[in-house]
């Protein structure tokens, strides 16, 4: 469904990604794990069209989307739940959701999308008129997920959705991702919480200093010694 | 200073020595118009350098530097007119007064964490506030202006800065060269490093023990004091001061164009900028005149277009581009 082929990404003179390639199959969960600054966010931003690769290309459903602006990528069906949630703090919860439905592909389905999101996260319906900046971290994360779904994506990239959440909430969020996947959504999951994300994933990639160093089925990597040593402290 | 000379690349040394020699000898050959344009270039290179120190090195955007030109000019002129103290002494009072203004603005701005556009607006507000104040100040003749006597018999009284074009030409040259040297030295001093640290990232600078407030205060005080010397030059060159002329915002803008166009935070930027912009203005006058399109305003329109083109094509200024062209990339700063 999505394939990233040999991309390099630079910030000024500094290289963040070095010949990274990944493949995402329809209906699967793909995990990308790696330490702080390994380039996970950079990869997501590049796929989303917010960063231009210096080389390589990205195809989605057969179309070459390399270098497309982010609005076009979104409209092609790639959504993202960004690192740090990135909600609009002074807009109300409802406005946050509505704005995301401005994508041409989602515009006509606003009412339906809204109903679905409220059904999934009833708390958001309750807080509909409240500025998003006043929500708690967990609520904001739900809003970020809900907002992403308003754009009617076929593939969603989650960048550290559990960051800064209490353990109970982490479970909640991960459960949601699993459910969304069950309903047919393809997911890319970026997490530092290596153990959890590897167990969830059908396939996983390990990113180190901008390079893919390992890849394989989630369970396989979980059993890999190198992974256990580097990321699980054993 | 010797250190500076030592680290300059050989080609750079030749160019600088040659340029200085040519400028020193020029009055022997060049006509008075060229000399007068060059005098103006020197003035802008000088005050531009002073501004560069504050914006280019310390990263504090001031859009009200005309204030210091005006204060410096007025103080020195008053000292001479009312107390009979000539400009060579008066300049100290002028520097002190302008530095006091600078310190007051800096204190208010930096103490209360005002930065960027807001700080720029604060500086404009002070300049305008002072302009209106001077418009009402009896001591300086108010809006009617302040005039320095310009009499034939005084020409040659260099100690009172009474003299012909050449006096001001060489004085301007000395000021511009001296300011460039001063900034080059400062940039390599401890303070210069601290300025750049604050400019680049104030939080990180403070984590390295730099007292950002003190360092920024030093920048605004030195810059305003330096600018005041330009004001003394201006007052004694033109022999008259009108608040509506010297404190005017367009004056502040005029004086920051050269360093920005030339290259902020570089020693040669303000100089190159002055050598680009002033002749550009004169050239446009000549060219529009030659082609018979000397309708008032046409020149300014071209000037505006050139500004837009330069800032779009070379956002970091002409000099870094030139330096790269001549393979002096590492010496661009």
């Amino acid at each position: 469904m999505l394939s990233v082929c040999d991309i390099d990404v630079f910030y000024g003179d500094a290289q963040a990604l070095d010949r990274v390639s990944i493949d995402v199959e329809e209906g699967k969960i793909v995990a990308i794990v790696g330490a702080n600054g390994a380039g996970k966010t950079s990869l997501i931003r590049t796929i989303a069209g917010m960063q231009r690769p210096a080389r390589g290309h990205i195809t989605f459903r057969g179309a070459d989307i390399t270098g497309w602006p982010s609005c076009r990528v979104c409209n092609a069906g790639i959504g993202q739940v960004a690192e740090g949630r990135q909600v609009f703090p002074t807009l109300t919860v409802r406005e946050n959701l509505e704005v995301a439905a401005l994508l041409p592909r989602a515009r006509g389905k606003l009412a339906h999308s809204l109903a679905r999101v409220f059904a999934m996260f009833p708390i958001l319906a309750e807080r509909g008129r409240q500025p998003a900046g006043t929500l708690s971290g967990g609520e904001q994360q739900m809003l970020a997920i809900g907002r992403c779904l308003m754009g009617r994506p076929d593939l969603v990239m989650f960048d550290e959705p559990s960051l800064g959440l209490a353990p109970a909430l982490v479970q909640e969020v991960l459960k949601t991702i699993r459910e969304l996947n069950r309903d047919g959504l393809t997911c890319v999951l970026v997490e530092q919480n290596v153990a959890v994300s590897l167990r969830l994933a059908d396939r996983a990639y390990v990113l180190e200093n901008g390079r893919i160093t390992l890849s394989g089925a989630g369970a396989e990597l979980l059993a890999d010694d190198r992974v256990r040593q580097a990321y699980l402290g054993m | 200073m010797i250190e500076l000379w030592r680290i300059a690349p050989p080609r750079g040394r030749i160019v600088i020595a040659l340029a200085l020699a040519v400028l020193l000898a020029l009055p022997l050959a060049a006509d008075r118009y060229v000399i007068s344009v060059l005098t103006l270039i020197f003035y802008f290179a000088y005050v531009g350098q002073a501004w560069n120190l504050m914006m280019g090195y310390a990263g504090q955007l001031s859009l009200g530097h005309a204030l210091y030109v005006g204060v410096g000019g007025y103080v020195a002129a008053l000292m001479w007119l009312k107390l009979g103290i000539g400009p060579w002494l008066g300049v100290f009072a002028a520097v002190a007064a302008a530095a006091a203004f600078g310190a007051a603005i800096g204190w208010l701005g930096f103490r209360f964490g005002i930065a960027g556009v807001y700080f720029a607006l604060l500086t404009i507000a002070f300049a305008e506030f002072t302009r209106i104040g001077f418009d009402h100040l009896e001591l300086t003749g108010g809006a009617a202006g302040l005039f320095l006597p310009f009499e034939e018999k005084r020409i040659g009284e260099w100690w009172n800065l009474r003299g012909g074009q050449l006096l001001f030409y060489y004085l301007g040259l000395a000021l511009a060269a001296g300011a460039a040297l001063l900034v080059a030295l400062m940039a390599r001093s401890r303070l210069g490093y601290q300025w750049r640290a604050v400019r680049e990232d104030e939080t990180a600078a403070r984590a390295l023990g730099i007292d950002a407030f003190a360092v920024k205060m030093a920048a605004v005080v030195i810059s305003s004091g330096m600018t005041a010397v330009g004001g003394v030059f201006y007052a004694f060159y033109y022999n008259n001061l009108f608040p509506s002329q010297v404190f005017e915002i367009s004056r502040s803008i005029e004086l920051i164009l050269a360093p920005i166009v030339g290259g902020l935070g570089t020693v040669f930027g303000p100089v190159i900028g002055a050598f680009v912009l002033t002749p550009l203005g004169e050239g446009l006058t000549a060219v529009t005149g030659r082609f018979g399109i000397n309708a008032p305003g046409v020149k300014a329109v071209f000037y505006g277009v050139v500004l837009i083109v330069i800032i779009s094509a070379m956002p970091s200024g002409v000099w870094p581009r030139l330096a790269a062209l001549f393979g002096l990339k590492d010496h661009a700063r």
């Binding site: 989303a48 917010m50 982010s70 609005c71 990528v73 979104c74 409209n75 959504g79 993202q80 960004a82 990135q86 909600v87 609009f88 002074t90 807009l91 406005e95 509505e98 704005v99 401005l102 994508l103 907002r147 992403c148 754009g151 | 914006m55 955007l61 208010l108 209360f112 005002i114 556009v117 807001y118 720029a120 607006l121 604060l122 404009i124 507000a125 002070f126 305008e128 506030f129 209106i132 104040g133 009402h136 367009s250 803008i253 920051i256 164009l257 920005i260 166009v261 309708a295 008032p296 305003g297 046409v298 300014a300 329109v301 000037y303 505006g304 050139v306 500004l307 837009i308 800032i311 956002p315």
Partner: protein, 288 residues
């Protein structure tokens, strides 16, 4: 005596509202695009000339010309942002400053070439009329202009608060990264915002010409005025611009009346300095 004060204050409020509308454009643009439009007043003067031209050619009352002018200036702003200013978004302030100073110089001098240096009045049939309400005498053009300014500002508020595109623009102002994340077309929204900002200026110019005569040299003065107003009200705050306008209008009027009129703008600058020092984000601005 109090009736005189009342008169002065009301004049200040009315004039301040029109200035506030002009400043509103600056605030909207800065709040979203984060570009400081240093040629703001110059655009306002272009609008004044446009209103003047429409009046002389078609006898179109500037209060009506306001609508086509706002539309026209919207297009100008949209095009300008898309073509010229977009590359400067996110660049250092001094670069934006030079760019827009260049634009301002061009505007002032093109106007000088096209219309000459003399000021151009719009002679309204009701230009010299005034309402007398008890001790209060207020002139019609000012009342109309202030009312129109409120109407335009209200329309803009409505747009930003009630429409989805308005919410999207606010979203860009709130969190630019977030806007990219949800796939908003940021460039288009920026152009739209610049367009709206200039539409304000277009409308304000049409109103200004009913209370002042168009002249090329007004540009820089209006730019400065708009700055003072938005900084006092809070750069980026819409209501702040109107409040700032009224505050400046009233304080200048009262200061002019109580002290020397020639020093009245000193009070504006003093107010500006006080606000910057005590509440740098402006009266209605939010701390970032």
């Amino acid at each position: 005596m109090w009736s005189i004060y009342l008169n002065v204050a009301v004049q200040g409020v009315l004039t301040g509202l029109v200035y506030g509308l002009m400043a509103l454009g600056l605030s909207v643009i800065f709040g979203v695009v984060r570009v400081v439009n240093f040629a703001h007043g110059e655009f306002a003067v272009v609008a004044m000339y446009a209103a003047y031209a429409l009046f002389t050619a078609f006898r179109l009352d500037p209060l009506w010309a306001l609508l086509p002018l706002a539309a026209l200036f919207f297009l100008v702003g949209y095009g300008l942002q898309a073509a010229l200013i977009n590359p400067f978004v996110g660049r250092p302030e001094h670069e934006q400053f030079i760019l827009l100073v260049g634009v301002g110089i061009i505007i002032v001098n093109v106007l000088l070439i096209a219309f000459g240096p003399d000021s151009r009045p719009v002679n309204l049939s009701y230009g010299f009329d005034s309402y007398e309400i008890g001790p209060l005498i207020v002139d019609k053009p000012r009342v109309f202009a202030a009312a129109a300014a409120i109407a335009v500002a209200a329309a803009l508020f409505w747009f930003f608060r009630r429409t989805r595109t308005g919410a999207a623009i606010r979203a860009c102002a709130d969190n630019l990264v977030g806007a990219g994340v949800v796939g908003l077309n940021v460039k288009r929204l920026f152009a739209l915002t610049f367009g709206l900002g200039l539409a304000c200026v277009g409308a304000a110019g049409a109103l200004l010409v009913t209370i002042a005569d168009a002249a090329p040299s007004l540009g820089p003065a209006y730019t400065l005025l708009a700055f003072i107003i938005v900084i006092i009200g809070g750069l980026g705050s819409m209501a702040g611009a109107l409040v700032g306008g009224v505050l400046i209008g009233v304080s200048e009027a009262l200061a002019g009346f109580l002290f020397a009129p020639s020093m009245k703008s000193m009070f504006s600058f003093a107010l500006l300095i006080a606000v910057l020092v005590l509440r740098p984000q402006g009266l209605l601005g939010q701390r970032t």
